[in-house]
Amino acid sequence: MTNSVSRREFLNLLGAYGGTSAVLQAGAALGFMPSSSQAAEIALQANSGKKVAILGTGISALTTAWELTKAGYDCTLLEASHRPGGRMFTVRSGTVIDEIGNYQRCEWDNDPHLYFNAGAARIPSIHSNVLKYCKELEVELQVFVNESKTAWVQDDAMNGGKPVRNTDYSSSMQGFISEMLSKALGDSQLDSSLTESESETLLGMLRRFGDLNEDMLYKGSTRAGYGSGGFLDHGTKKDVVALRDLLKARNGGSVMVTTQEGTGSGPLLMQPVGGMDRIIYAFANRLGDRIKFRAPVTEVMVKDDGVEVAYEQNGVTEVLKADYCFNCIPSHLMSGIPNNFPDDYSEALNYIRRGRAYKAAFQAKERFWEKENIYGGITWVNAPIQQIWYPPHNIHGKKGVVLAAYNFGGANYTEMSQQDRIEDLLKHGEKVHPNYREMAQKPMTIAWHRMNHMLGCAPRWARDRGGWSDKEEQMYETLRQPVNGRHYLIGDQSTQHSAWMESAIQSAHYALADLDQRVRSEPV
């Protein structure tokens, strides 16, 4: 194998990592958290009646409208859709999924527990601005269980296609990784750059991490549960799944990294009680008839002293004249709306690509997963459906909504018919739960690439996986500057970490700070 790490290389690596301890000490960074851990203090100067046009009602737009309204600005929001919230969308009894060519109306039981967050679903504890608004607007939150060790891992190539419990996979994988590492470390101890006590600590950690025996070998772990007994009788360990067998699952990476908090997924996440759109309606209710629905923007003209926005309502074109404009219409839709943006601004706007995402869910006749000792978390399936989520709320209730597919890349679901999508999710789901097909009632699907007024999911900036090019950084800066000091582009499209509500909110705060500064410096 040409790729394997030689002993010499391993030693070098170990040396390199030994050196990093200095960084931690010097920075004393352990108490720090990522930048978003502090919610922004918004203190806009009170204003009497400057007019603001807000385009779209994504969370960035609602944040903007809410803060400006509190400060006394006169806001009007123009929304093309029949509903507010864009990608924060909850499906429940009666909801329409306005996917182009695949109009669906949800006919699940009318029960507050039975909902499906078709867009955003999870709030990490470091997304302080999302949490701040939940608190301010009294949106009740509950814990969302992102990882369950009793959920399943399934790959046709592993275990004859039969699912294994997450814990069987992860405990064994941790065991093997620890065993291999400790072996390498033991062999190389003499020439390694670690001190004896550092090596000891590392070995001790590996032993616990992998649940190794005294000889530092992995011989199975009770973490995977007992083969038999465990309460009245002594528990017996389960058989070890051979490493070679584990390696047949090609989705192991997903299984092993669900618990990373930093980028937003973690064992502890949150969700609003009753659906993600509770946040949207908390804003929308307070904004009341400032929001015009089914009012698609058809032209945006930036003038010397303001912005003129044309929109359609009831078949008539109206013009809204405002002092300022905040716009969260997806960039790929703005390029089909006449405007007079400067060339470099348009170029940057047109550069952003639209990402794909697909989700599906059904109402389960019974909470069948609970009979399998699953009370939340994710089952990983090596098929385009990729994930199955079990609702962590309403435990032991009658029914529940199961997320039956979540492909953050969309696969080829966009072009599939509703019938084919349903068959696809049933076909893969029943490999995990034999009674799946029988349990699934009224599946609903959503391909964001075809959603009316969205046509996409996460905006994609960087063309190169390696990171942002200088040109991209430059275009991004161009879009962050308001056109003529009047037109602000907001939304997660104008951030460097798309697909998060927190980013969208922070984009609004960034634009508001700029506006506030301009208004404050105007001659009185």
Binding site: R83, G94, I100, F293, I337
Partner: protein, 208 residues
């Protein structure tokens, strides 16, 4: 304008239910009751949208639009595995009823013709020569000819013309056995000997 009546009622019901927005379900505006979805992809008043690669509809002939919607619906267009944009369009049309198609064609007819911006640059002189073959059906000014089933090309988004000509040449469009007019285009597009010739002819159409 039957649509507007429905819309007004919907808005009224929206306002009435505004107060109880958060209580249950969606805002009180019922979702679209018709199939007038075109502008989301094809731009405001159908001006075309390069980011979605959805061409200009404003000014498109009613008979041509109708035929293409019917072709998409029937799978005569947009089913070849390499016709990426066609594949994206097909599901949008797959469920349209005859009434919906008539309604859409009516609606599109309301939009003003606005010539699209030129983005393709080639050798106009050579393009003009090559265009003689096209002119026979599409007209000397690329104004279209209903009797021959040939749509107007002038004013259409040049990036769209480019994609379609490339698709015809490669057989990604027009290969379906029931696509009578499409198959003529497959043959005719072969008079353009290479991709540069395609670019040139589109550049010439931009001048018309």
């Amino acid at each position: 304008m039957k649509k507007f009546v429905t819309a007004t009622t919907l808005i009224l019901s929206a306002l009435c239910s505004m107060a109880s927005l958060a209580a249950e379900g969606d805002v009180g505006v019922a979702a679209a009751m018709d199939d007038r979805y075109c502008t989301t992809c094809h731009g405001a008043e159908g001006i075309g949208n390069i980011a979605i690669e959805a061409p200009r509809l404003a000014g498109m002939e009613a008979w041509y639009l109708k035929r293409q919607l019917e072709n998409f619906r029937a799978g005569i267009r947009g089913t070849h595995g390499e016709d990426i944009q066609g594949i994206a369009m097909r599901p949008m049309a797959a469920k349209l009823s005859d009434e919906s198609i008539a309604d859409i064609v009516d609606w599109v007819g309301d939009w003003e013709y606005v010539a699209a911006e030129a983005t393709v640059e080639g050798n106009v002189r050579q393009g003009r020569t090559a265009f003689q073959a096209c002119a026979a059906c599409h007209g000397a000014n690329a104004q279209g000819n209903e009797a021959l089933g040939a749509p107007a090309l002038a004013g259409q988004n040049d990036w769209y013309l480019l994609t379609q000509l490339r698709n015809f040449r490669a057989g990604f469009r027009g290969s379906h056995q029931e696509d009578t007019f499409g198959s003529q285009m497959v043959t005719m597009s072969k008079t353009l000997t290479d991709d540069q010739a395609v670019i040139n002819v589109v550049s010439y159409i931009n001048t018309l």
